[in-house]
Assembly symmetry: C2
Homo-oligomer: 188 residues x 2
Amino acid sequence: MDVNAKRTYDGGMTAETVGTPALAAALDADPIATAREQWVGHGWAEAAPGMAAITSLMRAHQIALARVEATLKPLGVSFARYEVLMLLRFSKRGSLPMKLIASRLQVHPTSVTNAVDRLESAGLVTREAHPDDRRALIITLTPEGRATAEKATAALNTEVFAQPGLSTRDVEQLVEILGRMRHRAGDF
Amino acid sequence: MDVNAKRTYDGGMTAETVGTPALAAALDADPIATAREQWVGHGWAEAAPGMAAITSLMRAHQIALARVEATLKPLGVSFARYEVLMLLRFSKRGSLPMKLIASRLQVHPTSVTNAVDRLESAGLVTREAHPDDRRALIITLTPEGRATAEKATAALNTEVFAQPGLSTRDVEQLVEILGRMRHRAGDF
DNA sequence: GTCCATTATTAGGAAGTCCTAGTATTTTGT
DNA sequence: ACAAAATACTAGGACTTCCTAATAATGGAC
């Protein structure tokens, strides 16, 4: 199983392509470790660990998102839409107001409008007026939406979540560390 | 200093807004921990840790990116363009071929074209023909581009990297864990 | 020497993110 | 009770990402 299938943009960058052995070695090394040395070398030592951490996060996210999107693609949903589907799936009635979806997912309200537009076009959710507050809309999962959420979860569980590319210990540590980070940032 | 300034989309979702104490408590809890319990409860226990890890990564990325973009905004560059600038900044001559930029940043070649278009419009880089291979283009940092890279780095160092929202130990652990994950995914 | 495959780049389009405004509705303050 | 403020959502625009398909130039096979 090629974990990296979607990220082969480098088209065979090898030592031959580059010329000097030193530069070839630099390409084989972790670019983030290299950047960290540059940071220290430029007198930004106290910012170097943070730079490495944030940059690692960006790259790891890029890798993880690519795997997730590739898994979801055959089902015709993106990760953004999958998140909406699962939020509804776990709610009591399978329906939630737009506003609550946006706040739970921590995205801009217009992003939810966009996602719901596409989900509605695909017949996976419906928009209905809120009975008490006519400003609000209630989004409800259709049977097809529920089935899609089920299939998508099965695919993600077997193809991504069960093999996250980390040891059991690393997985737990990662969740804890990022949990502390999210908590400090006010995420919950 | 409001670390979370850009992510206040929830507009004051509080217990009053929701109604029942149980639901209010659910909102105050970590949504990822809640999702993890749901996973276990639905018989997906062996995928639950991986789900939590990947989801944490997505959220932490969202938080970090928002901070970075907010810091960079006054300078008129995005994080994508900052990365291009720094790659050039650290190269020997301040210039690199398009292809190498794409492979280093692990993004699609068309994304580099897009970023370079905007950097060129802003006068931060120039496009020149490659002397040996007329298929290729060499991108070079202008003095303005170098100055912008310098200012952007200073801003990021003080406003983000020096306070990543994690303890020193967590920062190091995070870099190591994500390093292992990236390595397994073929990132370097 | 030509044809063909490869490589580098651009063009155009889909999808996601955000933002600023604008409309409709509800709540609040006097 | 009525005007003002707050809230929920949508419209349109900017930017980023990816993708597929075309164009231009190089290098290799025969």
